[in-house]
């Protein structure tokens, strides 16, 4: 039995979901129309399946649980998530994975602006963001750690892999990009380098998982070359207001 969200308020729907999770490991909610905070702070071992358009701050502070969206996400999916995974069978809005600390997000299609803004890592906590199509401007803004993968699948003529100000203020972590990318949209502090063996191994696991989630063709994806975008320095703004 599933919970039907309809046009009810977010608090009521979230309360029902939490009550269901007291006795179940998996809860399904259907006819979702923009309700916020679904799957917030969901613990490990629990799965939330969502049908419809999930509202802002989906899986906010996700705590090890699994959230699957059959539809689209809006703004701030996975805001400050600390573990678990989010699978989106569609696209996502602005500020995907905002301040993400651990866990993985897989988006089948594109994401809007500020994907992966201020992602960070600490010891064994390494967040991963995998995007199937492309990303808007400010991808990886102030990125401090973790990994973003941008696959560029099904790009239409004239569409770019990422928008302007990519990795602005980035000072840690890495972005893997597949195929050609708009170098002019990269921030000055960022360099593109080839992958080493460790990179290839790491990337391979993400791509295999993307293919499993969305039934994509692994061989087709691997036909194009990947590059790695990393910051030249860990302190891009050290001399913003002062001379060397």
């Amino acid at each position: 039995m599933s919970i039907v969200a309809g046009i009810r308020g977010y608090a009521e729907v979230n309360d029902e979901i939490k009550a269901e999770f007291l006795s179940k490991a998996k809860v399904t909610v259907t006819d979702v129309n923009g309700q916020r905070y679904l799957g917030n702070a969901l613990d490990g071992g629990k799965t939330l399946e969502i049908y419809g358009t999930a509202g802002n701050d989906l899986a906010f502070c996700l705590n090890g649980g699994r959230v699957v969206i059959h539809g689209h996400g809006q703004d701030a999916v996975g805001n400050t998530m600390g573990g678990g995974e989010i699978i989106i069978h569609g696209h996502a809005g602005d500020a995907l994975g905002y301040g993400m600390r651990d866990g993985q997000i897989y988006v089948r299609d594109n994401v809007c602006c500020r994907g992966g803004i201020h992602m960070k890592e600490f010891r064994s906590m390494k967040p991963v963001l995998v995007i199937g199509t492309n990303a808007g401007s400010f991808l990886g803004e102030y990125m401090a750690g973790g990994t973003i993968v941008l696959l560029g699948l099904n790009l239409k003529r004239g569409e770019k892999l990422f928008g302007t100000h990519c990795a602005s203020g980035m000072h840690g972590g890495k972005i893997f990009v597949r195929g050609s990318f708009p170098r002019e949209n990269l921030s000055p502090n960022i360099k593109a380098v080839s992958l080493n063996d460790d990179d290839r191994k790491e990337l391979d696991s993400y791509i295999r998982k993307y293919c499993r989630c969305f039934d994509a063709d692994y061989d087709e994806i691997m036909k194009k070359t990947f590059m790695k975008l990393i910051p030249e320095t860990s302190r891009p703004y050290a001399n913003l207001y002062t001379a060397d």
């Binding site: 046009i7 308020g9 977010y10 979702v32 129309n33 923009g34 916020r36 419809g52 358009t53 509202g55 802002n56 689209h72 809006q74 703004d75 696209h91 809005g93 602005d94 809007c112 602006c113 500020r114 808007g136 401007s137 400010f138 928008g163 302007t164 002019e184």
Partner: protein, 366 residues
Amino acid sequence: MLKEGQVRIPSGCAIAAIIDRKGGMINGSEIIKSIALMHDRSNGLGGGFAAYGIYPEHSDEYAFHIFFENSEAHQKCEEFLFRHFNIDAAERIPTKKVDSISNGPDIWRYFGRVNRVRMKNSRLDESEYVVQCVTKVNSAYDGAYIFSSGKNMGCFKAVGYPEDVGEFYMLDKYNAYLWTAHGRFPTNTPGWWGGAHPFNILDWSIVHNGEISSYDTNRRYIEQFGYKCTMQTDTEVITYLFDHLIRHHGLPTNVAADVLTAPEWDEIDRMDSERREYFTNLRAIYSGALVNGPFSVILGSNKGLLAINDRLKLRSLTAAVKGDRAYFASEESAIRIICPDPEKVWSVSGAEPVFVPLEIDEREDD
């Protein structure tokens, strides 16, 4: 009571809009359904709608929607209108009692043409004459606010949640080819009816989510041309900027949008020579009209619907199309609730205005 401008109002809001490019009619209940879904983005201190094509029986006349705070303001403003216009019809705007909306002003509408003798004596063209009359009332007649002054269109706004405002004005009784809507979230204001969106002058109406940090620069620029910012909120200035650029300077709508959201200089430097020259000229000539700050704005007019976002993309705005209709909303779910299967959905990015022109012949004014 303190009005806006006397207190600071950082705001976060919801906006929505629908247009039928071929002029097909859309009932008001649709836009209410869309804006109502984003209820949590407003706090009940302002909601409003603009509707185009609602007064076909008065399509050649200006429709003035006016708030009167007292009978003296009513009387004085009416005398002014009767002197400057040939008023055909005057009536209270029909409203329905809604629990959440109270303490409102007396709300009237007047349909009329300009008084030709007065207009000729003033040596102004018709649009300018109307704008100056509206400015005069709003700045000099305390307690009277003309909040809508276009032809065959009208704004409806109040202090309340937008869906309640829609019910209050019974917008399900109106059909329009273009609707815009706004739900307001001012966090530090007593909130007053004139301060709700949309802001209108002639056929232009603006709904806005965000803040205009360049407000004073823009206000100083626009007040040089005779406009007065009487509503004391930042959104108003955008309405006048568009009116000025399009009506006085004859800029096409998309060029006016490029003036407001011109790219940063380092982006202009990277453009090909033609586009570089275009944007360099726009920024040089219209530096006072460049709008900064986090905003998403929808401009409605009898020419179509324009959506713009700030250059750094600090507010969300989603667009969708299906058949002859185009939809805009702060959240995608607010589009899908009235259009479940759009042909195309995308996020309106900064500095990339989206203009959906109306493809019917709306008669132009001289």
